[in-house]
Amino acid sequence: MNRIEQQMQNLQRRGEKAMITYITAGLPDLETTKKLLKAQAQAGVDVVELGIPFSDPIADGPVIQDASFRSIQNGTNVENVFGMVDELRQTCEVPIVFMMYYNTALHYGLEAFVDQCVRTGVDGLIIPDLPLEEQGELRAILDQKDGAPILIQLVSPVSKERIPMILKQARGFVYCVSSMGVTGQKADFHKNILAYLREVKAASNIPIMLGFGIRRAADVGPMRELVDGAIIGSYFIQLMEESGFDEQTAKEYVSTFKRELNAFAYEPELERKSTSDLEQFIEEQGIQLRY
């Protein structure tokens, strides 16, 4: 079974929420990336997203743009990331998702790329510039290979009538983008986030994860009954940079976030609250709602 699906099943059985982190591969070098992934796995991270740096990351904000730029300067490319994953897999089974741009796979050759994912143990792909309509070519290859990674589907606050169509193709988890635009920015969620999350939740039979702009567990607290987990990207990278890519800091961050995320008491109240009451509650937590 695919590691992501296995992990999601385990979490669901235990009634836990998932924590997913993102780091740009090769920052400051691939050896450190490997150590950081291992440290996070030990601290209980559920899935790791590994950013394959690309020269023109149109879905990313300044933090990840800058991280990608420097990683490329360091010589990171998809080939040596595969090498690193291959080594990591000897001792670590954490589910790995590549967060990448389509051109990287296209240039590598889609079939060769998928083969390498299967061989090294990459479990999922997030490709933000590959919307549903453009997935056919890649999907045809993924569908015919045993053990091929899952193409993770993204939905946004303005997806609306596209949601059911997108979910039909989704496996593993659904990546719910919290705001319009790009990764990073502080917890400014889209003004209609609640209606949107409720819509996705109602339509989805797989876990839904909230990403973009999340820093701490409290940011998702008010929405905890609507999502199955959170994805932390830009903030985690900043934390890593500030700590000099310290493994201990990574571990502490992951275990604290996970603990806090799962310590929220179940509040059926939250599920029943009207959207406007919940909006008020969210803003009381210091989270801005806007687009």
Partner: protein, 393 residues
């Protein structure tokens, strides 16, 4: 509406833009079938832009190179280039869609100036994204945009040039699409942009085809235009695509020479890839990262090319060649001295190849060269180049 040209084109953008693109496509389709809309567009092209532009028979050039050379004078448009044709069309569409804010990307600043001009005309709020490097080397155009009331944002990311300004415009658009219209300046980007830009530049060949039939009573043998993203070329080719006897030639920038690696010829050496929402020929390094283009002409300094050109190349309907910085600058000088016209350096690339091609043609054959813009903006670059100081682009 078809999203692809063969295997090129498509919509390689974030999910959050897909509904916006759909909305745009629908609005565009309805607009171009609406007589009122097209009449308004025609009105502004005539009364504001100054169309139609002449198809000028360049007698002395023709004598010198041995075939009849006609110049389609897009340089005589308001703001000095063909860019304004498309800007007027897109801004009228934005207005029709009820958007009051527009954003644009610009490299050398020509599209930025055209967008700022149109935004002033239609009283829209305009922000132009421009790479930090370009802001420094095109200070005069930054000033022009500001005079016209636009805000210019200096983009510091990646290579700090057009490609990065475009990325930033796309990112901003993804954030603000609910009330903002993105005016793309070339025949690039996600569907429906390449189609839209072609539609609003089609006027170039519509006029030229009628003009040459009137003057020569037959179709031209050859039509030549320069290609960066490819907007003047697609406009120049559009009405000739179904005339198989007309040879269509696009001229890319070869910079210091294709063999040096310092060039902007996506179709000479690029391979298909995705950038700025489209799949097309793209200059890439061995890891699939986008390679920086290089040309003395800022307007041709783009690592990709519009998807329809990629398709026309593969299908053989058009051929694509290139001209080096030196060839273009020599041709620029020839046009100045022979005909008293200072062309934009972009257009000089088309001229450079046209002169070569003319020598293989006969005296009673005809050729149209798209003179896409005037060279006023380039005089500093030209002066530096001929003084042997090199150039900054």
């Amino acid at each position: 509406m078809e999203r692809y040209y063969g295997s090129y084109g498509g919509q390689f953008v974030a999910e959050s833009l897909m509904n916006t693109l759909k909305e745009l496509e629908t609005a565009f389709e309805q607009a171009i079938q609406d007589k009122g809309f097209m009449e308004e567009y025609a009105y502004y092209l005539k009364e504001y832009v100054g169309r139609e532009t002449p198809l000028y028979y360049a007698k002395r050039l023709s004598e010198r190179f041995g075939t009849k050379i006609y110049l389609k004078r897009e340089d005589l448009n308001h703001t000095g280039a063909h860019k304004i044709n498309n800007v007027i069309g897109q801004l009228l569409l934005a207005k029709r869609m009820g958007k009051k804010k527009v954003i644009a990307e610009t490299g050398a600043g020509q599209h930025g100036v055209a967008t700022a001009t149109g935004a002033a005309l239609f009283q829209m709020d305009c922000t132009v994204y421009m790479g930090k490097e370009d802001v420094a080397r095109q200070a005069l155009n930054v000033f022009r945009m500001e005079m016209l009331g636009a805000k210019v944002v200096s983009v510091e990311s990646g290579s700090n040039t057009l490609k990065d300004a475009t990325n930033e415009a796309i990112r901003t658009w993804a954030k603000t699409a609910e009330d903002t219209f993105y005016v793309i300046g070339s025949a690039v980007g996600p569907h429906p942009y390449p189609r839209m830009v072609k539609e609003f530049q089609r006027i170039i060949s519509k006029e030229a085809r009628a003009q040459i039939l009137e003057k020569e009573h037959r179709l031209p043998d050859v039509v030549i235009a320069c290609v960066g993203g490819g907007s003047n070329a697609i406009g120049m080719f559009a009405e000739f695509l179904d005339d198989p006897s007309v040879e269509l030639i696009g001229v890319e920038a070869a910079g210091l020479g294709i063999e040096t690696g310092q060039h902007a010829s996506a179709m000479a050496l690029g391979k298909p890839g995705t950038l700025h929402g489209m799949k097309s020929y793209l200059l890439q390094d061995q890891d699939g990262n986008v390679q920086l283009a290089h040309s003395i002409s800022a307007g041709l300094d783009y690592p990709g090319v519009g998807p329809e050109h990629a398709y026309l190349k593969d299908s053989g309907r058009a051929s694509y060649v290139s001209a080096t910085d030196k060839e273009a600058m020599d041709a620029l000088k020839v046009l100045c001295e022979t005909e008293g016209i200072i062309p934009a350096i972009e257009s000089a690339h088309a001229l450079a190849y046209a002169f070569k091609k003319a020598r293989t043609m006969t005296q009673d054959q005809t050729m149209i060269v798209c003179l896409s813009g005037r060279g006023d903006k380039d005089v500093n670059t030209v002066a530096d180049y001929f003084a042997g100081k090199g150039y900054m682009n």
